[in-house]
Structure formats: structure tokens, C-alpha cells
């Protein structure tokens, strides 16, 4: 019997070498990606677990009715490319649960937009250098549009996010006109943006508590 495809000593050694090299490289590189700080669909498992299960099938991205789920680019991480993240530049998340239903490997768990402890996407934070209300008091639209009434205006009509109510749906970021109504200053950040839970805890949580 000869199909030219039997296992030979040479092919065996070659395969072992490649597998060893891949495993060694991955062992070093992958934990870095597994700890990456990336916005994920609502209810997503913790990043190492999500990273382990996502097979880049695009089902969640193609199922998303608002198209807020987008594939990550190669530039954002070679190992992460094609896995889903959220882009709030034009759309927000309605917590419709479709992404969880279609995911074949259970990367996404249940989420409740009214319970910030149940799989929220992240937290909205105001970027004061860009926010029009902080600059000249000329805006307040995010507070009007927040579907969960998590943003209020302070005495100077500047937006304040209540992290206990915000679930990171991104409606505020999607509607924010900051970089449209000002001269482009080279960055893509608006007056308000949704950051991951982790980033919020590291950077903003302590100052918000005051």
C-alpha cells in the first residue's frame, strides 16, 4: 500500500520540531494576549477564557443587528485578529443577546443591561480634554441619550457618569459630536468613551469614588 503519505522518520522529526517550536513560542507570547485589555461582547467570559475558546468564526460579528461588533485587526494583535470587539464610532450595543446565542464555543455568557455586575461591556468615562461641555459648556447630548439614565449633568452642565448604572452600551460614545465639531487634533477619541472594566478600575475608579 503506497499513498506517499505514510509517517516516515523524517516527517515525524519535522512535525515534532515544528510543534515544539510553536508550543515554545506560544507559551511565551500567548499569555500576553490572554491578558489583553480588550472590549468584548456583553457577557463575555474573562479574557483568558474567551481567548481560549474563540475560533474566529465571525458568527457573532455577522449576527449583530447594530454592527457594533467588529473583528479585531491584525495591527491590534496577531493572535487576536478576527476575534470580536466593539466599535462605538457609529453604533451601540442593545444587549439583544444574539451574539451569545450564535457563539458555537460558549465564549459569551448571559448579561443583564440593568445589572452592572452581570456581564457589562465596560464603563463610559468622560475625556475632559475633548468633551465640548467641559471646554465651553456647549453640549449635553450624552446625558439626554443614555438609555439607562447613567449620565447626569452637574451644576456647570458637564456630564458625569454614574458607574453604578453604566453598562457600557456605547450610546454616548456613538452620539458624541466632539471630534466633529472641533478641529481635528490627531486623535480619534471623543468626549466620552467606553473603557473595559479593568481599565476603569485601574484608572478612574478611585477618582470617581471621591
Amino acid at each position: 500500500m503506497s499513498s506517499g503519505r505514510e509517517i516516515t522518520r523524517r516527517s515525524f522529526m519535522a512535525t515534532c520540531t515544528v510543534v515544539a517550536a510553536t508550543a515554545a513560542t506560544g507559551f511565551v507570547v500567548a499569555p500576553h494576549s490572554a491578558q489583553a485589555d480588550v472590549l468584548r461582547p456583553p457577557g463575555a467570559l474573562a479574557e483568558p477564557e474567551f481567548f481560549a475558546r474563540c475560533i474566529h468564526c465571525y458568527r457573532c460579528i455577522s449576527a449583530c443587528p447594530t454592527d457594533v461588533l467588529v473583528p479585531m485587526h491584525l495591527e491590534e494583535g496577531v493572535l487576536q485578529a478576527r476575534s470580536p470587539t466593539l466599535d462605538f464610532s457609529e453604533a451601540s450595543c442593545t444587549y439583544c443577546d444574539l451574539c451569545r446565542q450564535v457563539c458555537p464555543t460558549g465564549c459569551i455568557g448571559p448579561s443583564d443591561p440593568n445589572d452592572t455586575a452581570q456581564g457589562r461591556i465596560g464603563v463610559a468615562v468622560v475625556i475632559r480634554e475633548n468633551c465640548l461641555a467641559f471646554i465651553d459648556g456647549s453640549c449635553g447630548i450624552c446625558a439626554q441619550r443614555c438609555p439607562y439614565e447613567a449620565i447626569s449633568l452637574d451644576t456647570f452642565n458637564r456630564p458625569v457618569v454614574d458607574a453604578g448604572l453604566c453598562n457600557g452600551c456605547g450610546e454616548c460614545e456613538a452620539i458624541c459630536p466632539a471630534h466633529v465639531l472641533r478641529a481635528f487634533n490627531g486623535n480619534r477619541t471623543r468626549g466620552i468613551e467606553v473603557v473595559t472594566e479593568r481599565r476603569y478600575q485601574e484608572v478612574w475608579a478611585s477618582s470617581d469614588a471621591e
Binding site: M1, R5, T8, C57, C60, G106
Partner: protein, 322 residues
Amino acid sequence: MQNRRIRLLRTLTLSLVLVAVLASLAFDSGIGTPSALGIGEFFLLCPLGGLEAMIASRTLLPVALLSMGVVVVLTLTVGRAWCAWGCPAPVVRSLFTGKGKAVASHDADDAQSPLGPKDAASAIAAQQAHVSRTREAPLLERILKAAKSDRRLMVLAGVLVASAVIGFPVFCLVCPIGLTFGTVVSLWRLFVFKEVTVSVLVFPACLILELLVYRKWCMNLCPIAAFLGIFARFATRFRPIVDTSTCIQYTGSATCRVCAKVCPETIDLHDAAASSILADCTRCGTCLEACPKQAIRITRQSSHIALLAPDKASNISKSPPP
């Protein structure tokens, strides 16, 4: 089944996969890609992807197991038909090489099996003897022999080991199927969302590197082929069968090995061990098309050997195609 019909049906199924992916993107229907394809909560998951995800996350995923079970059942019926009827890799390769070069991808030392008897009866007897010998061998020996026969199984094992060590689905990064639809989605997003990313260049570049520069990806490396091959050896239906009353090898003075030369899996239907080798048959229909006497048929009937005795052949080849 007739030659031209097979090619037509294959083109249809391959196009359908692409159309489904594009419709999925256009209408937010969540159909997905061949990595996981389906409607809503009903989907077929790539068995390799499912295995990698379970191993990397150290969890049993019942939904993934169920879907993989369906794939196994399908493979037990139609063998490695996915490779010829659903997988974009051969299509991508043929886009760049054209039909003629597919044959040239065989090395000189491939498919040079002994020319075999010119007498149909002894050829059939040889094949049947191989089947009996295989059946009578002890189970462990049969398993070891099957494992050794496909070096792609090493790649499969290696991929699963690597996924376990690294903690994420390794092969999905370089899988030609993933890269093909990664390219499709990147191009879609470029034109619909004006999303400029290096992916739209890198994915096709990697794809071309894999399938063209290393031509023997499918034959030597593909771990999905290895996985399907484990079950495909039991799929004895829909295999190509040679009508020995028409085939030149048995009726003419010349020897003929056209079917073996054109087969993308280098299967020689005249080889005494055909029943084992046919585990690799992807039902692509190339042998049917190439046979100068159109002596090959694919039938619904179960058959362990690849040759049909002249008296039996007259019943099969003259009956209407299924």
C-alpha cells in the same frame, strides 16, 4: 453519477458556501463561516476548532460535541467529501495554478504503484484478499496501521498538543479556510465600512504562501483532513468504482493509469490496497472526468473494493445515474 454533473454540483455547493457567508454579512443573519456555519442556535462547528477550543479552555462544550458528532456521522456516510465539496482551499489553489498544474503537483515518486495484473479477475481477487487480510488482523494492529498511514495525523496531534500548551486554538491562526474567509470579510468591510487594515493584504498573502508555495498543504499537512480521515475509512458508499468490462487496463493491450495520475489524493483504483487508500477519497469526480473510456462511476451502493466484475458491471453501468 455522471462526470459533468459532479463538477456542476461541486461548483454549486462551493458557491453556496460563499453566498451564505456574504448573505450573513449583508443581512446580519449570523450564518457565519465554515468555521461555524448555521442558523441561530443550530450550527455545524469545524471539528478541529471545537477540539482546540475544548482543549485550550480545558472544558467540555456539549454544544460543540453535538455539532462534531453530526460532522462525524456525515463523514461516516460520505467520507472526506468536505474537501472537494465545501473547502475553499482547492478552489483558491486552482485559481492561481489552473487545471493542468494540479496534476504536476505530484512528485515523480508519487503514484508509481506496480502496474498490476491485466486480468480483471485476479485484480479483483487481489483487492478482496487485501480486504480480508485487513479484517482478520487484530484490532490494535489495524489501528496502528491506519494511524501510520496518514502523516497528517501527526499534524493533528501536534496542533492539539500545542493548543493545550499555549491555551488557545493554534491552528485557527493559519488555517486556509479561516484565512480565505478572513480575506472575504476584510474585503467586505473595506468596501462597505471603508475599514482599511493590513489584514486585507496579509490574509491573502499568507493564504497564497500556504497553498501555492507549499503546494502539498492538503495532502501533507491538513489536520482537518486527518480528523475526517479517521472516520472516512468506514465510508464505503459513494466511492468511485471501475467497470472492468470497459476499463483499458483490463480490456486493452495497453496499461492505463490516468485515474491515478489525475487524482488529487494520488489514489490508484487498480492498487490491491484500494479499499484502504479510498479512505482518502474526496469524491471530487476528477477520475470520472479523466477516464478515457468513462469506465468509472460513483454509486450509492456500498463497496469495499474499487473494481467491478464485468458481469456485475453490466447491471450498474447501464442503470440510470442516481
